[in-house]
Structures are given as structure tokens and as C-alpha cells.
């Protein structure tokens, strides 16, 4: 039971990270019907920028652990959001009217480009987060000893998801995003500046993805420049699992996939851990391509 609960909470932490990345995929897909292949690499940028800021600014020494990490998260989110907006400008805006394949290829090119820029800057080796900055405390939860970082990650990711959900559902800008996702043309007729909505989506998604990257760095203590595509693929699986284009779906899908993967790795086979997510992906696409929470949309002819 102890083992099971440890794996379950671990799965929830990883799932929270997947969910945060998946939100970026699902929002972009919702508005542009484009798989943003470079999103996973923006996530990696979050992890690397977090590492650089953590070591160079020594925030946790100056202002204490809690405030230091909070400032760090906000800085990483802001920087990665700017990167996301630049990516949209450079790689996707010129192709808005082009066929799908062109946009997909451009997205892949952007992914390769971003990944290799990171490799040329930091080198190909694994980068290690300093372990003396972060407290390795454990939390006693009714007799279950959980690493503090794990609990924090679950709480932080859930808080961000709730904030995003409220923003999308309750505010006027959120309504504009939903409207642009349903019908761009009609949204434009109602006076919504669709270009600004797209820009906003490319700020929000990468900000969440960057925060997820920082979380991975803090949780596992090491990052490498190719991790973006594995996490990206899994997060995309999560987005499809929940129903692509559907924001609560991405959250549910992410948490579910994290738990499935953690339990599968613990009880089935650790060597096949990465294959589990892909099997889930293929199964869901065969059985229910609209995802768990997605609604069926008739193909336009």
C-alpha cells in the first residue's frame, strides 16, 4: 500500500507536469488546428533558463526559499512566453493560410532549430540542478513520507490549471479565446481581434510549459536538451487522451497519463515505461479519437 501510494503521488506530480505542457498543445490546437511541435522545446527552454537563473542570481540565498522559487517561476514563465510569441511570429504567422503540411513541417523545423540552439549554447551533456539550494525535506502526511518537492509540484500545477480554467471561463478575454477556437471567421465578425487571441495563446501556453520545465528540473535535478520531445509527445498524448482542444480535458488527460505511466513502470516493467504512453496514444486514437472529454464533430466535406 505504501509503495502504491508513493507511485500514485509520483504519478500525480509527473501528470501535473504533463498537464501543464498539454494545455499549451491543446490551446494552440484549439485556435489554429496546428500541432505545435516546438512546444516541447519551449518546455526545455524553461528548464534551462530556470537552471541558469537559479545558479546565477542565487535568489534563494537572498530572499529565502519560498519567495526565491516564486520569483524564479515568474521569471521563467515570462521569458518562455516571450519566446513562444517570437516562435509564432517567425514560424507560424507566415504560414497561416498555407496547407497543413507546410505548417507541420515548419513546426518540426522550429523544434529542431530550438533544440540545437540549446545544444550549441549549453553543450550536449546533461545539466545538473544544484542540490544544495533546494531543501530535500519530506512531508509527513498521515504516516506517508512524501518529498516536499513532489507535494509542491502537485499543488503548483493544480493551482495554475485552476487559474487558467477560471481565466478562460470567466473573463472576457477567455471568452474571446473560446470563441476564436470555435469559429475564427464568426469571432472576427463579432469584433474579436483573432491575431491577438493567437498571440495570447502563444504567450499562455509556453508560459505554462516553461513552468513545467522548471518543475522537471527541480523534481529530477537534471535536464538535457532532447528531453523536450519525449515530454512533448507524452503531453500531446495527454491532450489527445482528454480530447484535443478541450482545456479541462488536457488537465484530466495529463494527470491520468502520469498515474498510468507511474503505476505501469512500477508494476509492469520499467524498461517499457516510455512505450506505455505511446500505446495509450495509439489505443485512444483507435477506440475514441475525440478523447475522453471531447465531443464528436462531424467532418466537413
Amino acid at each position: 500500500m505504501e509503495e502504491f501510494l508513493q507511485q500514485l503521488t509520483n504519478g500525480l506530480a509527473v501528470g501535473g507536469i504533463y498537464a501543464l505542457i498539454a494545455l499549451g498543445y491543446t490551446m494552440v490546437y484549439g485556435v489554429l488546428k496546428l500541432i505545435n511541435f516546438a512546444h516541447g522545446d519551449l518546455f526545455t527552454y524553461g528548464a534551462y533558463l530556470g537552471l541558469t537563473l537559479l545558479t546565477s542570481l542565487a535568489l534563494t540565498d537572498r530572499v529565502g526559499f519560498a519567495l526565491g522559487v516564486l520569483v524564479l517561476v515568474l521569471m521563467v514563465m515570462g521569458l518562455v512566453a516571450v519566446l513562444g510569441a517570437m516562435l509564432e511570429r517567425a514560424a507560424y504567422r507566415p504560414l497561416r493560410e498555407s496547407p497543413r503540411l507546410s505548417a507541420v513541417v515548419s513546426a518540426l523545423g522550429a523544434s529542431i532549430f530550438l533544440q540545437n540552439t540549446l545544444m550549441l549554447i549549453y553543450g550536449a551533456r546533461v545539466q545538473v540542478y544544484p542540490d544544495d539550494i533546494l531543501p530535500a525535506a519530506t512531508l509527513d502526511l498521515f504516516g506517508l513520507y512524501l518529498p516536499l518537492m513532489r507535494v509542491l509540484i502537485v499543488l503548483a500545477s493544480v493551482a495554475m490549471m485552476v487559474a487558467l480554467y477560471l481565466f478562460i471561463q470567466k473573463t472576457k478575454i477567455g471568452t474571446a479565446i473560446r470563441a476564436a477556437a470555435i469559429d475564427q471567421g464568426a469571432a472576427r465578425l463579432m469584433g474579436i481581434d483573432v491575431n491577438r487571441v493567437i498571440l495570447l495563446v502563444f504567450l499562455l501556453g509556453p508560459a505554462l510549459g516553461g513552468a513545467a520545465g522548471l518543475m522537471v528540473g527541480l523534481y529530477y535535478g537534471q535536464v538535457n536538451f532532447t528531453m523536450g520531445w519525449v515530454y512533448g509527445m507524452k503531453a500531446f498524448t495527454a491532450a489527445i487522451l482528454g480530447g484535443i482542444g478541450n482545456i479541462p480535458g488536457a488537465m484530466v488527460g495529463g494527470l491520468l497519463l502520469g498515474v498510468i505511466e507511474a503505476l505501469g513502470a512500477a508494476y509492469v516493467s520499467i524498461a517499457w515505461k516510455d512505450a506505455i504512453a505511446f500505446c495509450v496514444l495509439i489505443l485512444i486514437l483507435i477506440v475514441r479519437p475525440t478523447g475522453l472529454l471531447g465531443e464528436r464533430v462531424a467532418d466537413k466535406i
Binding site: I35, A90, A91, P94, L95, S98, P99, R100, L101, S102, A103, V104, V105, S106, L108, G109, A110, S111, I112, F113, L114, Q115, N116, T117, M119, L120, W229, M233, F236, T237, I240, A271, W272, D274, A275, F278, C279, L281, I282, L285, I286, P289, I301
Partner: protein, 318 residues
């Protein structure tokens, strides 16, 4: 430009067989790599370029062929070139089994599924599935190919084997393009609904294109196994699929000369600029982004079919 094209093609085709006489071993080896990639890209072109099915797991079929050949050769001592049809069959059947449930999916969903299949195959190979793939170390000791009692060993000899196969492939694929099959898959690439409305069995043709392309990749895998004598899962990573995808798109989807040119550029240019090897993928990524803006149809785009009015009038006697 178009007036000179036949001459350029004839010149290259005429000079290529004599290339090993003038080039050193290393350069011939680069040409062999180009040949292998050209084969793989031509097989992917059938799926991605001609039929318009986004397949980014082509390395999986390539791996299937290479491993089938290696296992048959090292375990059952079957001469490596004899395994060609069998490894093609293994890769083709595997592709059919995989594609059957997902082939109706829309473009980018299919792309994601094929990436997933490619990864599952790679992970299976690393985990030594059924105890026959040798795990992360792969399989070694694959015997040299023999052709009419002649053991093919040096790069100069492989050159003729590989490029001979490339020539055969080009000839067959050109014929295929002209056939009813070629026209059908082009039609369903352009407009699937209209194709179905005209009585083309879209699922059948999609699967056929998938199976045939994969089978050809499997045979290229056999040649790869024969050339390297060692194969391991690293050779069939996701990036291999991406590079092949890129070759087809950059060359011009559906264009055989374009794919050949792109294979030569993508494989050959990094060899010329070895000192910038680290920046190779960076440049590829940038090129992909820029090409999609300035020349999305590729370097040598496929030309539409042309039928001479006079010839068809003459045929019917009017």
C-alpha cells in the same frame, strides 16, 4: 531550364557508374550513404509524397527489414541478399498491421501515431524483445553479401550494389507512378472525398501505398545491414524518420528527381562541412522553416501529368 533538364539527368546518370574510378574510398562511402538514404526517401515518397499520408515513423519499417535480415542471416545462415524479399515482406506486413486501424485518421493524427509506432519499435528493440534483437548492443557478425560467387566487401563494390538497387527502384517507381495505382493514390492525396466519390477504394489504396513503401524501406534495411555488418537500435531513432521526412518535403513531395537531389544535399552537404558538424541539425531546422515560407513545393516540385492531345487523338483515329 526545362530544356536542359534531360541533358543534366543523362549526364549525371552517365557519369555515376564511373564515379568509383575517380573518387577515393571515403567519397565512395559517402555516395553509398546517399544511395541508401535515396532508397529510403523514395520509399517514403510513395507514402508521404504520392499518397499524402503523413508518416513520421519510417525508421520503424527500415529497422524491421534490417533486423529481419540480420536475424535470418546470423541465426539461420541464410545469405544476406536472399533475405531481401523476406525482410521486405516482414516490414510490409508489419506496416499493414499497424496502419490498418489508423489509416483513416486525419493528417496530423496519423503523423503522431506513426511517431508513436516508431518509438515503440525502437524501445522494443532496445528491450531485446523475444530475446532475438540483442538489446541495446544490437546484432553483429552479419555476413558479407555474395553475388554470383563474388563477395561484396569494399565500398566500391557496395556502390554498384546500392546504386544498382536505386536505379531499379527509380525505374519501378516511375512505372508505378504512370499506372492506375499511381494515379489513384495521387487522386486521394489531392482530394480524398472526390476520389472516393469516383469509385476509388481509398482505404485499399492507402494501405497498399503504406505496405509497399514500408516493404521497400525494409529492403533498404537489408542493404544497410549488409553494408554495416552491425546493426543497433540507435541507427533507427526518431531523428532518422525526421531526416527522411525532411528529404521528401525539401526535394518536393511526389517528385523522384527532387527526392534524389534532396537526399544528395541532406546527406552530402554535412560531409562537405564537417567542421560545422555540431550546427548541422540547426541549419536543417532553419532550412525547413524558411523553405515552407519561400518554396513550400520543394526544390524540384513534381510536375502534373501531361497527356498529348495529338497522340490521344491519333490513337482513336479521329
Amino acid at each position: 531550364m526545362n530544356r536542359f533538364k534531360p541533358f543534366v539527368v543523362a549526364l549525371i546518370a552517365g557519369l555515376l557508374p564511373f564515379a568509383p574510378l575517380f573518387l577515393n574510398t571515403y567519397q565512395v562511402d559517402v555516395l553509398n550513404s546517399i544511395g541508401l538514404y535515396a532508397l529510403l526517401a523514395l520509399s517514403l515518397n510513395l507514402i508521404l509524397g504520392e499518397a499524402g499520408l503523413f508518416n513520421m515513423g519510417h525508421a520503424a519499417f527500415y529497422a524491421m527489414g534490417a533486423y529481419a535480415a540480420a536475424i535470418l542471416n546470423t541465426r539461420y545462415q541464410i545469405p544476406i541478399l536472399w533475405t531481401l524479399p523476406l525482410s521486405g515482406l516482414v516490414a510490409g506486413l508489419f506496416a499493414l498491421a499497424v496502419a490498418r486501424p489508423v489509416v483513416h485518421l486525419r493528417g496530423d493524427y496519423l503523423l503522431i501515431v506513426t511517431i508513436g509506432v516508431g518509438e515503440i519499435v525502437r524501445i522494443a528493440l532496445v528491450n531485446d524483445v523475444f530475446g532475438i534483437t540483442g538489446g541495446a548492443n544490437g546484432i553483429f557478425g552479419i555476413s558479407r553479401p555474395r553475388l554470383f560467387g563474388w563477395v561484396i566487401r569494399r565500398p566500391e563494390e557496395f556502390f554498384y550494389l546500392i546504386w544498382g538497387f536505386v536505379a531499379l527502384t527509380i525505374f519501378l517507381f516511375l512505372r508505378l507512378k504512370q499506372s492506375r495505382f499511381g494515379r489513384a493514390i495521387n487522386y486521394l492525396r489531392e482530394d480524398e472525398v472526390a476520389a472516393e466519390g469516383s469509385g476509388i477504394n481509398t482505404d485499399y489504396y492507402k494501405l497498399a501505398a503504406f505496405g509497399l513503401g514500408a516493404a521497400w524501406a525494409g529492403m533498404a534495411g537489408t542493404l544497410f545491414a549488409a553494408k554495416m555488418t552491425i546493426i543497433s537500435p540507435e541507427s533507427f531513432s526518431f531523428w532518422e524518420s525526421v531526416v527522411l521526412f525532411m528529404i521528401v518535403i525539401l526535394g518536393g513531395a511526389g517528385s523522384i528527381p527532387g527526392v534524389l537531389l534532396a537526399a544528395a544535399l541532406v546527406v552530402g552537404l554535412p560531409e562537405l562541412f564537417r567542421e560545422f558538424a555540431g550546427a548541422r541539425m540547426l541549419v536543417f531546422g532553419l532550412v525547413m522553416m524558411v523553405m515552407m515560407v519561400i518554396r513550400p513545393q520543394g526544390l524540384l516540385p513534381a510536375r502534373g501529368r501531361r497527356f498529348s492531345l495529338a497522340a490521344s487523338l491519333g490513337k482513336t483515329g479521329r
